[in-house]
């Protein structure tokens, strides 16, 4: 191995650490009520990977990937999609409350009838020729994102008899580090399907409400659209970086 690299380790290489998230945040991978987990969750214990350069860095994919109207799912076709027009706005923050600016946020969702524009979706609800259901944007310096879309419908799925997913929008966020990568789902307040849904219920109870947006009358636009607000909190970064080489991981 190169002497240069050996010389660099322990001589000023500074790696900002991301402390582990508190237990009770994420769902367990082994969750029998969600049937598809059965043959897909790893059974061996995870191997500890101390954070090094490759974990505290991550893809910074910004402006070049996003068109000016990509955040507006209602203007991607010649006509307007059917359904209840909504604005979804929020911030991407880290665990210390700092905004995560310049990060790519991608969303996808069913149409107002509860149907995805996907060959695998067999739900006999109509497709909407004016709705694709995908959007993206890059957060501003304050970590803000904003999407204009229609409220997705609930839809049935094959998990168990009479299984229905509550209305939700899928979110994919990068943050600034490999350890911050997050894919999750945003729900709508007061949905009576919550208690029947094993995917939301897989989240420890105290953390579930973090996935539910709130109706915001300040964001709601008179005579035009309801506004829902939802912040995404990624794993926090310690204020004090630790010097590589002083820590055995």
């Amino acid at each position: 191995m190169s002497e240069t690299l050996k010389g660099q380790a322990g001589s000023g290489l500074v790696v900002p650490p991301y402390p582990p998230e508190a237990p009770g945040t994420h769902p367990p991978l082994d969750y029998p009520d969600y049937r598809s987990t059965r043959l897909r969750f790893p059974r061996r214990p995870l191997v500890a990977l101390p954070q090094r350069l490759g974990e505290v860095t991550g893809p910074l994919l910004g402006e070049g990937r996003v068109g000016q109207r990509d955040h507006d799912l209602t203007v991607q076709h010649p006509g307007e999609p059917l359904g209840e027009r909504i604005v979804v706005e929020g911030r991407v923050l880290d665990g210390a409350g700092r905004p995560v600016g310049g990060t790519l946020v991608e969303v996808w969702q069913a149409n107002a009838g509860g149907r995805y524009r996907h060959d695998g979706d067999q739900h006999p609800a109509p497709l909407d020729p004016n709705f694709s259901g995908a959007g993206r944007c890059v957060t501003d310096a304050e970590g803000r994102f904003r999407f204009v879309t229609v409220k997705p419908g609930a839809y049935p799925w094959g998990n168990h008899h009479n299984a229905w997913r509550p209305a939700h929008i899928h979110f994919s966020v990068f943050g600034r580090a490999f350890v911050q990568r997050l894919i999750t789902q945003m729900y709508f307040p007061g949905d009576p399907l919550f208690t029947f849904d094993p995917i939301l219920s897989s989240v420890p109870q105290a953390a579930r409400e973090r996935l539910v947006s709130r109706l915001d009358m300040g964001l709601t636009t008179p005579e035009w659209a309801l506004g829902y607000r939802w912040d995404i909190v990624l794993r926090g970064r310690d204020a004090t970086p630790l010097e590589d080489g002083e820590d055995d991981g």
Binding site: M1, S2, L5, Q8, A9, G10, G12, E21, A22, T25, H26, P27, Y31, S36, T37, R38, R40, F41, P42, V47, A48, L49, R52, L53, G54, T57, G58, P59, L60, L61, L93, G95, A96, G97, V107, W108, Q109, Y116, G120, S132, A134, G135, S172, A177, F178, V179, L182, I183, T184, I199, L200, S202, R210, L211, D231, I232, G236, D244, G245, D248
Partner: protein
């Protein structure tokens, strides 16, 4: 101020509506000197292909530098993205076109062998799985790698090393079963 983190949820079966990018699998453009194809299949605990997984890769450039300001050693090669994204096909196959990354400095004066960090998302996975791809032509570096060295069973350790397959490197990801891939807690 401490804010509670947002919980993870499954990517679900319909992410192809929004996540695949036309250039997703191109960590480097076609024609890049030293470009290689790395890929394989994602398989479930019954050995069946997983046709609705998304595999993402993150890596350093051939000099071992990251396209990121938190790499304190200076910038990566100009234009080097370091990131790949590929949904699996009906047979569970994924692949990216990339270049072999350089080694990385590790704690205590050690060196991490060249590797790709890998994220796996799928229907039925309520959170991301993380693993790594190491290179079969680096036996010396792999023997000195701190992560590989932390896995006592050589047969399990070997599952993190890709297999040469003609001009490609094959890396199958077994979510579960006898050949289960070692997944990492970060």
């Amino acid at each position: 101020m401490t804010l509670p983190p947002t919980p993870s949820q499954t990517i679900g079966p319909f992410f192809a509506v929004g996540l695949p990018w036309p250039d997703g699998p191109d960590v480097v453009p076609e024609g890049t000197l030293g470009a290689i194809r790395i890929g394989g299949r994602v398989l479930d605990g019954a050995g069946d292909p997983v046709p609705d997984a998304l595999v993402e890769t993150w890596q350093a450039d051939p000099q071992g530098r990251f396209a990121h300001p938190d790499d304190p050693r200076g910038p990566a090669d100009p234009g080097f993205r370091g990131f790949g994204r590929c949904p699996t096909d009906a047979e569970g196959r994924w692949a990216v076109r990339t270049v072999k990354p350089g080694p990385l400095p590790a704690p205590g004066g050690g060196v991490e062998a060249p590797h790709l960090n890998v994220s796996v998302f799928a229907r039925g996975l309520l959170g991301r799985l993380v693993t790594r791809v190491y290179f079969p032509d680096e036996p010396g570096a792999n023997a000195a790698d701190p992560l590989l060295g932390s896995i006592p069973d050589p047969a399990v350790r070997a599952r993190l090393v890709a297999v040469a397959d003609g001009d490609r490197l094959r890396f199958d990801i077994h979510l579960q079963g006898d050949q289960e891939t070692p997944f990492l807690a970060i």
